[in-house]
Amino acid sequence: MEERSLHIVIVGHVDHGKSTLVGRLFYDTGSLPPEKLEEIKRTSEALGKELEFAYIMDNLEEEREKGITIDIAHTFFKTEKRRYVIIDAPGHKEFLKNMISGTSQAEAALMLVDVSRGVQEQTLRHCHILSLLGIKQVAVIANKMDLVDYSEQTFTKVKDEIIKVLEGLGITPAFVIPISASKGENVASRTEKLSWYDGPTVLSALDSFNSLVIEEKGLRFPVQDVYEIEGTKVAVGRIEAGVLRKGQDIFILPQNRKSKIVEIKKFMEDGLTEAATGDCVGLVVEEDGGLSRGDILEDCAASTVTDTIQANIFWLIDSEYRLGIPVKFKCATQEVNGKIEKIHRRFDPASVEIVEKDSTIIKPAEIAEVQIKLEKPVAVDKFSEIPELGRFVLEHAGHPVAGGIII
């Protein structure tokens, strides 16, 4: 079995069947404890419904009574090939921040479309979010085939429609799979009713996704904190890209000072000479006097040091942004105050056309291309090159208000 779990987010318009699909996937693969199934049967009956597979994911009382998903749920699932973390995202516009939170943790996505309704507002919005967050592995699930009498013609129409949207955003879906989630058709097993379809089921499509590959890149080590261990200053952090070697020369950004790694420290692991991407380690460096949270250690000082950020941001909260309102910029362990100084253009991804150029506001659920001015320089990369130092969150008064990627 692969060591790394694959994180998959389930997205799409409200009521297109996301939670039902996940529930069904668990049920059809025998991944559901019997008590849980009993509990769902009882609750379904009490609410006067047939067995409701969505309740496997929708555990809040409010979610079950209203028949909606409010917040993301992470569940664990495995096949012979690998472990999965399945993130079920809500489909309502008002819960978009939850959908984006879930998608930010994912490496692949299943995009659900109800074939009887086709592409709708949140379908478009979610496609844009997938594209912005750099999720390239996507399978489209054409759900509710039972409502269109398993018609290949209707399927093809919706398939063409969604492929056009995704390709316009630079995403080529790996598969478009006709299914009925509520009936369990083409979820874990095939059905006669869709005999005209010869592609994979949802389950086999999951296993065909590629796992995350850690590429060889330049070193990025954001300092999280500095501890004093037995009289020595140790800078702790996680290697976001590249590798670290004992004795290696390093640059400390954004100041651009030079130093050297004297020791790599992990508890109860002596004599470490190397640490890899993803490792949380402590470092003793030469002339450690100045290290503090937010410093970025690099092998070649390749990041851009700047106080002006060009980015695409997505607005997460219900109130709008007006030029000049202060924000806190958070990228890796760097936190600097600033403000958005230019809104080059903003648009509503659900309506596709540009809303406004050179704007002074950003409205809820909109995407905007902006220029952010910071009080101090930071070290950043383009999202397309080193995502860990190319993505950020903006906060206002302690609340996250936007996510962004550096272009």
Partner: protein, 267 residues
């Protein structure tokens, strides 16, 4: 990097973020396997000596084996142990047979915790809950803010993108920080094995019974099991389909007990 090391790194990152942001934090230790794993990870994050207090919320109904384990390892690991008790309710006779279990959990756990947090003014608490334990816990954020009444506003949780955790806003009283949210029960046992971690004897089979989840004596039932070693428990879990908290009475009074308890500030 192997699966367990990936999970361990994620936990250590979260623990260090919480300490970097707040300094005035504490870790909650129920003496069960999950929070003992969390303590173990904290020891790793801080090179052996945890630089903040460890809170045990004592309902007075815990198993004797748990008190013994707690005191032994508090000493061995040089823990700054705080024992939190709702003394007035315990004296007044609160217990699981006096009325609803929900009230007992709420008084002896949640309110005892509130009293402790208020006394010390902690800005964040590290908790060893996991997403796969319960559907309600599957909805949690890694950094989860609580207001002055300790309410969990599950209908409007903050956005949490990548590893950027929310800063403190005016209405945030403290944060619940969940460093092992991403681990499953099986991950925990495999990690316990790899690390050769000590654990309460209650988890291991005696007279063909063992506890899969431990808490208060009156509300915990053992399961039928011959598994008397970590290896045997891992084998058993890989071949069972029963839910982990099936032996925990407080989850079962009605379908939403856990949601109600948690919205009031329960772990």
């Amino acid at each position: 990097m192997d699966h367990l090391t990936i999970l361990e790194n994620k936990s250590i990152f979260i623990i260090r973020e919480a300490y970097a942001k707040f300094r005035n934090i504490a870790v909650l230790w129920s003496v069960g396997k999950d929070s003992t794993t969390l303590l173990w990870l904290c020891r790793k994050a801080f090179y052996g000596k945890i630089p903040f207090p460890v809170i045990h919320i004592d309902t007075s109904y815990k198993f004797p084996e748990m008190y013994k384990f707690r005191d032994e390892y508090a000493k061995k690991w040089d823990l700054d142990l705080i024992i939190g008790k709702n003394e007035s309710e315990i004296e007044a006779g609160m217990g699981p047979t006096k009325g609803a279990k929900l009230d007992c959990c709420n008084e002896l756990k949640t309110n005892a915790l509130k009293q402790t947090i208020n006394r010390y003014g902690f800005k964040a608490l590290l908790l060893g809950i996991r997403r796969d334990e319960h559907g309600i816990r599957a909805k949690e954020r890694v950094f989860s803010p609580r207001d002055e009444n300790f309410k969990w506003n599950y209908e409007d949780q903050p956005a949490e993108l990548w590893d950027q955790y929310k800063s403190t806003a005016e209405e945030d009283n403290h944060f619940r920080v969940h460093p092992i949210l991403h681990m499953t029960e099986l991950d925990i046992w495999k990690y316990i094995k790899r690390e050769n971690m000590p654990l309460s004897e209650l988890y291991f089979s005696r007279n063909a019974k063992r506890f899969r989840s431990i808490g208060c004596v009156p509300c915990c039932s053992p399961i039928e099991s011959q598994a008397s070693s970590v290896d045997e428990i891992i084998y058993e879990l890989e071949h069972t389909n029963t839910a982990e908290r099936a032996g925990r009475a407080q989850d079962k009074e009605d379908a939403y007990t856990m949601q109600k308890l948690r919205s009031l500030g329960y772990m």
